[in-house]
Amino acid sequence: MQDYLFAVIINGAIILSWLVLFLKNKKKGIEAIHVGIQTIVEMLPMILIIIGIMGIATSFVSPEKVSESLGDRSGLRGFLVISIISSFLQIPGVIAFPIASTLWESGAAVSVVAVFASASTMASILTLPIEMKYLGKKLPIIRIVLTYFVCVAVGLLTGFFYKILI
């Protein structure tokens, strides 16, 4: 129910902002729709594949197994494994959060979900060569190493605060 409420509010607010933009500047309004659709069309195959993989994966892996290896009582091992795997990957947020919520619903701990969400989007060892091409060698290496620790801290603290506050 809460899902629908947020979706309605956010869609309404954004459609309204677009209308304001369109009325102020018709050309920019139309260009915005054009660019938006173009970007989503490029991403759509990947989004559909990920949603499909998650659908199949959840029918094979039981929630018991997930919570056993990644849940609250599994200790640090599952957390560290997920943190390392996700720091290698570069997943756009639009795709990372559907995966994260599936993990969560399947019984993974909040800290594991948070470290996956942070590390898969921010730290990407596999794309380091692209980053170095533009920003030199030193700064990207420093950034990725630090970001890994940032993601571990954000993951653990999100789990901690979530447990205390909610």
């Binding site: 629908y4 956010i10 970007t39 420093i142 630090l146 954000v154």
Partner: protein, 168 residues
């Protein structure tokens, strides 16, 4: 690019057909979860499309030229955080040439690191998706921590960078 991802998609369909041929009993549960996830995604699709369009039209790369001329410390870092989050309407690899522009405009290493991390970590589109999927409490906690740590990371990175640059 498009043809390649279409090819991946067909490959995925093929593999899933194979899986369901081997495990027919998994077909219905998989289909059920996939369809409900698709529905959940479709709910925020209009918002994603419009928001990506609006920000890519309004927040243009020229804004970097205008805003990163001075080498202000904290202010520059805050701007980097802000622009990183608002400009991230496209794929991650666009953040690097954009960050290169920051360097060319004389931005400090901390601003560059914060910009790239903000683009990928707290992008406006990603945060809308996070709110939709993970709920308000989770998003608020993780976002607050993320912003604090991205900032800290930028400052420490600049310090380490200056150390590394001193060595012959």
């Amino acid at each position: 690019m498009k043809i390649k991802s279409l090819f991946y998609f067909l490959f995925f369909i093929l593999i899933s057909c194979l899986i369901f041929a081997l495990y027919p009993d998994k077909l219905m549960p998989s289909l059920h979860t996939t369809l409900s996830s698709l529905g959940q995604f479709a709910l925020i699709l209009p918002a994603i499309i419009l928001l990506m369009g609006i920000f890519s039209v309004l927040v243009t790369p020229d804004m970097i030229e205008k805003n990163f001329g001075d080498k202000s410390g904290l202010k520059g870092n805050l701007k980097a955080l802000f622009f990183g989050a608002l400009m991230s309407t496209g794929p991650f690899y666009l953040s690097f040439p954009m960050a290169k522009r920051l360097i060319d405009k004389g931005a400090k290493p901390s601003a560059v690191v914060i910009f790239v991390s903000a683009w990928n970590g707290i992008g406006i589109i990603a945060e809308i998706v996070e709110l939709h999927y993970m709920g308000f409490p989770f998003t608020l906690i993780r976002l607050t921590l993320n912003i604090l740590f991205i900032f800290l990371c930028g400052i420490v990175a600049e310090y380490l960078y200056s150390l590394a640059s001193k060595k012959p």
